[in-house]
C-alpha cells in the first residue's frame, strides 16, 4: 500500500525561487494537511483541506499556497522562497472524523527543503 506519497524527498532552493511540493494519497481520504517541522518545535499546520475544492489556512500559512482539485492530490506551492522556509514538510491525510469526533492522520515520508 502506497499511503501518502510526497515528492521530492530533498530540495535546495535559492532565495526568491518558487517550487511545488507534491502530495498524493490512495486511501480515498477526505481530509488532507500540510505541516512543517522545525527542530525542537513539533509540527505546525500550514494549510488543510476537508475535500476537493475546499482549503483553509492553518497556523503558519504565510508564504505558501495550496489547491485541491482532486481527492487524491494536495500540492503545496512556495512562492519567493525565504531562508525561514527551510524545514521538513509533511503531508498527511485522514478520513473524516467519525461519531467520536477524532480520526488518525497518516503521514508521508517528508520533504527536506533548504533555502540558501
Amino acid at each position: 500500500n502506497a499511503g501518502v506519497t510526497q515528492t521530492p524527498k530533498f530540495r535546495i532552493l535559492k532565495i526568491g525561487q518558487s517550487m511545488t511540493l507534491q502530495c498524493t494519497q490512495d486511501m480515498n481520504h477526505n481530509y488532507m494537511y500540510w505541516y512543517r517541522q522545525d527542530p525542537g518545535m513539533g509540527l505546525k499546520l500550514i494549510y488543510y483541506s476537508v475535500g476537493a475544492g475546499i482549503t483553509d489556512k492553518g497556523e503558519v500559512p504565510n508564504g505558501y499556497n495550496v489547491s485541491r482539485s482532486t481527492t487524491e492530490d494536495f500540492p503545496l506551492r512556495l512562492e519567493l522562497a525565504a531562508p525561514s522556509q527551510t524545514s521538513v514538510y509533511f503531508c498527511a491525510s485522514s478520513p473524516a472524523p467519525g461519531g467520536r469526533g477524532g480520526a488518525e492522520a497518516f503521514f508521508g515520508q517528508g520533504t527536506r527543503l533548504t533555502v540558501v
Binding site: 494537511y33 509533511f90 472524523p97 469526533g101
Partner: protein, 114 residues
C-alpha cells in the same frame, strides 16, 4: 489559547528500565488525543487514539492513558528498538471542519541503550 506540552524533552533509558512520558493539554472541546512515533528521517507513525478520560490503550510495551488534563505514555521494559521521538497531538473544536486538524506537542526523544 490551545496548548499541548510534552515532558521531558529527552529521556535516556537502560534496556528494561520502565518510564513514562507526559502530554498535558489545554484545549476547548477535545475530540481526540493521539500518540505518534517518529523515527529519524521518517514521517510520524500512528500509535494510539484516546477519546475520553479514563480510557487506556496498549500495544506491545506501550500503554497510553488519558485524564481530563493530560495523557501518559508508559513504556514497560523498553528495548533499543523503542528508541524514537514520541509525539502527542490533539484534535479539538466545535466546528466540524476543524475536527480533523491535529495540534502537536514538541515531542519527547527517547533513547534506549542496551
Amino acid at each position: 489559547e490551545d496548548q499541548v506540552t510534552q515532558s521531558p524533552e529527552a529521556l535516556r533509558l537502560q534496556e528494561g528500565e520502565s518510564s513514562s512520558l507526559n502530554c498535558s493539554y489545554t484545549v476547548s472541546g477535545l475530540r481526540g488525543l493521539f500518540w505518534y512515533r517518529q523515527d529519524p528521517g521518517k514521517g510520524p507513525e500512528f500509535l494510539f487514539t484516546l477519546y475520553s478520560a479514563g480510557e487506556e490503550k496498549e500495544k506491545e510495551r506501550l500503554k497510553a492513558t488519558l485524564t481530563k488534563k493530560e495523557s501518559f505514555l508508559h513504556i514497560t521494559a523498553p528495548k533499543p528498538e523503542d528508541s524514537a521521538t514520541y509525539l502527542c497531538a490533539v484534535q479539538a473544536g466545535v466546528a466540524t471542519d476543524s475536527w480533523g486538524k491535529l495540534q502537536f506537542g514538541a515531542g519527547t526523544q527517547v533513547v534506549v541503550t542496551p
